[in-house]
Symmetry: C2
Subunit: 341 residues, 2 copies
C-alpha cells in the first residue's frame, strides 16, 4: 500500500522532502493519559507489550494525538533475550530484572536462536494490526536493541550505571562474550527481518549503553555486530542510534545503514562533518520540553537551522521523559513542521 505520508522514508533514503519529518523516541508511552489508561487496563507493562491488540492501540495513539510522521511499534528491546530463553520481569521504579543471568558457556548453550514467528509472534501480530489500522497514513518503525546493549542486560541482570558485571566479561572472558553477542545478533537479524515481512517500513537499532565502552572496546564488541545486522537487512532503511558513542561517529559513517541517530551531547555541525553521507536523526535534549513554549520553539528552530532541512529526521536526543506535558510535545512537533518547510 502506498503511504500517504512518506516523509520519513524519503528523508531516510536521502531523497528531497518538502519539510522535515518528526517523531519522538518513547512517543507511545507514559506521557499520554490515553496510554496510561490502556496500560492500567493491561495490568502490567509486560502484559501490555505482549497483548497485540493493546500494543497496537498505544502504537497508534501518538499518530492520532500528537500527529507524528511515523508510528513506532510499542514493544521492548528485552523481548529478544526473553525469546532466546532468558525471561525478565519489569519491577516498578526499578526497571527490568532478569532472575537468571548469563555467566558461563553452558548458560549460552542453553539459549536458543529465537524464531520470531513462534517466539515473538505477539510483536508481529501487533505489527499486523497496526499496519491495518494505520492504513497507510504514516510509516511504521520496527526496532531491536543492539547486540551489545542486550548483552549488558543478559549478563548484568538489571539496569546499572556502569554495567561493570557485563563489562567484566568483555575483559575477563572475551571469547564467551563474542559467543553470546553472536547468538543475540543471529536472533536479532531473524527478528528484524520478520518485522519487515509484517510491514515495518524502517528499522531502528538502539545501542542504549554504547556510552559505557572505550572506543576500542566499542569497535570490538559492539560495532561488528551492528554491522552484521545492517548488512543483513536490505528490505527497508535502517537507523542506528548509539547513545553516548560520540567517539564512533566516523565508524557510523561506514556502516551499511541509512540514518544515524545523535544524542544531545553531540554537536550537530561536527556530526554532519563526521557522517557526511547519511541522514541524521535527533537530537533535542528531552529536558528542553520542560521549558516554556517560547523556549521550546527557540531551541527547536536552532536545532533545525544547524541540521538543515534535508537528510534530516527531527527527534529528541533520547526518549521523552515520562513527566513531560503532551502540550509541550505538540509545540515541538508543530515547530518542526512549520519552521522546516
Amino acid at each position: 500500500m502506498k503511504l500517504q505520508n512518506d516523509l520519513l522514508l524519503r528523508a531516510a533514503k536521502g531523497e528531497h522532502v518538502e519539510r522535515v519529518p518528526v517523531w519522538m523516541m518513547r512517543q507511545a508511552g507514559r506521557i499520554l493519559p490515553e496510554y496510561r489508561e490502556v496500560r492500567a487496563q493491561a495490568g502490567s507493562f509486560i502484559a501490555l507489550a505482549t497483548t497485540p491488540a493493546l500494543a497496537a492501540e498505544v502504537t497508534i495513539q501518538p499518530v492520532d494525538i500528537l500527529k507524528t510522521d511515523a508510528a513506532i511499534i510499542f514493544s521492548d528491546i528485552l523481548v529478544v533475550p526473553e525469546a532466546m530463553g532468558l525471561p525478565y520481569e519489569m519491577v516498578e521504579a526499578k526497571g527490568p530484572i532478569f532472575p537468571k543471568v548469563i555467566q558461563s558457556k553452558k548458560d549460552i548453550d542453553l539459549l536458543k536462536v529465537s524464531d520470531p514467528e513462534t517466539d515473538l509472534g505477539y510483536v508481529l501480530e501487533a505489527i499486523d494490526i497496526v499496519k491495518k489500522e494505520l492504513n497507510g497514513r504514516v510509516p511504521l518503525i520496527g526496532f531491536a536493541g543492539a547486540p551489545f546493549t542486550i548483552f549488558c542486560y543478559m549478563v548484568e541482570g538489571r539496569g546499572s550505571k556502569t554495567f561493570s558485571t557485563a563489562k567484566k566479561m568483555l575483559y575477563s572472558q572475551p571469547k564467551l562474550a563474542h559467543l553470546l553477542l553472536q547468538k543475540i545478533t543471529d536472533s536479532t537479524i531473524y527478528y528484524l527481518k520478520a518485522q519487515t515481512r509484517h510491514g515495518a517500513d524502517l528499522l531502528q537499532i538502539f545501542d542504549s549503553w554504547a556510552g559505557i565502552l572505550s572506543p576500542e572496546q566499542y569497535r570490538k564488541f559492539s560495532l561488528p555486530y551492528i554491522a552484521q545486522i545492517c548488512n543483513a537487512i536490505d528490505e527497508v532503511p535502517v537507523t542506528v542510534f548509539a547513545k553516548g558513542a560520540f567517539f564512533a561517529r566516523k565508524d557510523m559513517a561506514k556502516l551499511n545503514c541509512n540514518v544515524v541517530g545523535l544524542d544531545w551531547n553531540m554537536d550537530i555541525k561536527e556530526s554532519r562533518k563526521m557522517i557526511p553521507n547519511k541522514t541524521l536523526q535527533g537530537n533535542l535534549d528531552p529536558c528542553v520540553l520542560y521549558g516554556s513554549f517560547k523556549d521550546i520553539e527557540k531551541e527547536t528552530k536552532k536545532m533545525i537551522k544547524a541540521f538543515g532541512t534535508q537528510r534530516y529526521i527531527a527527534n529528541l536526543g533520547h526518549g521523552v521523559y515520562p513527566d513531560t506535558d503532551p502540550e509541550k510535545v505538540k509545540c515541538f512537533f508543530e515547530t518542526v513542521k512549520t519552521y522546516s518547510v
Copy 2:
C-alpha cells in the same frame, strides 16, 4: 615540609619527571579489606567521613598498601551541600538521599555560604592528621564537586541516570539555577582554599554529571563556575575532571587549571591535540582491572604509550569499582612505575 615524592606535583606543573606518577580515584575505599574494617568500626559511611581520625586512617591506607604516589583525603563531595544547610543520608545500595531538596528561591535563601572552619572542620582536621602522619612521603590531594554536579544532587535529591528534575530547573528557571550555582561556587571556593591552608598539595574538582548536559548548557551552567574556582585558587595546582564532557575538551584547555582528567571514552591522542597546554590525567577503563594480570599490563602499557611519560598522571578513567581485587590494582600501579621510566 619538603615532599620526598613530589612526582605528582611536578607532573601537574608540567615539569620533567623521571617516571609517571600514579594514583587512583576511590583508592581509599571498599576495595581494601583494611578499609572495610575501619568502615565497620565507624558504623556508617557518614560516621567514617565525619570522624577525622578514621577518615585520616583510610586516607593513608592506599599509600602504605598500594604504594600510590599521592593520598586523596577520604571524604564526599556532598559534604558541601550539608555544610550549606542541606543534609543527606547515605542509604545502603541506594546511595545519597536528600530528605529536603531545592525548589524555590526561598529554599536557596535559606542556604548559607558555608564557613569551612566551622561547618567542615572535620574534613580540615582529617587533613591535619593526614599531613602529620604522611610526614612528607607523598602529596595530599584535596577535592570538591563541581558546582553543577552538587546542584544536581541538591535539586534532584538523589542519584539518577538522567537528573531530569535538576535539568528541568536549568530550562524552566535558569535564573534560579544560576543563583544556586553561585552560592555553591562561593562555598566551594572557601572550602578548597581552607583545604590548601591545612596542607592539601593539589586540588581536584569532580564534575561527575557533566555528561548529562548539551555542549551549550554545559558552557552556560557548569564551565563558568568551574572557571571561577580555577581563577580563585592560586595556592596549589588544580585538576578538573568532568566525566562525559568530551565536547568541552577545547574549553578545558582555556581554564586556569593545571591538569585535565579524561574518562575512558575520550581518545588519548585526540585529547592531547585538544588540550595541548595542560597535564592530562587518566584514563584506564576501571573494568580493565577485572582482566588477567597479563591484560592489565598490556592495556596499561598501551595507555602510557599513547599519553607519553611527560605532562601525564596515570589514573583510571573513573573511580575503581568496589569489587576489584587489590592485587590487580597493584599490578596496574607497578606497570606504570616500571614501564614509564
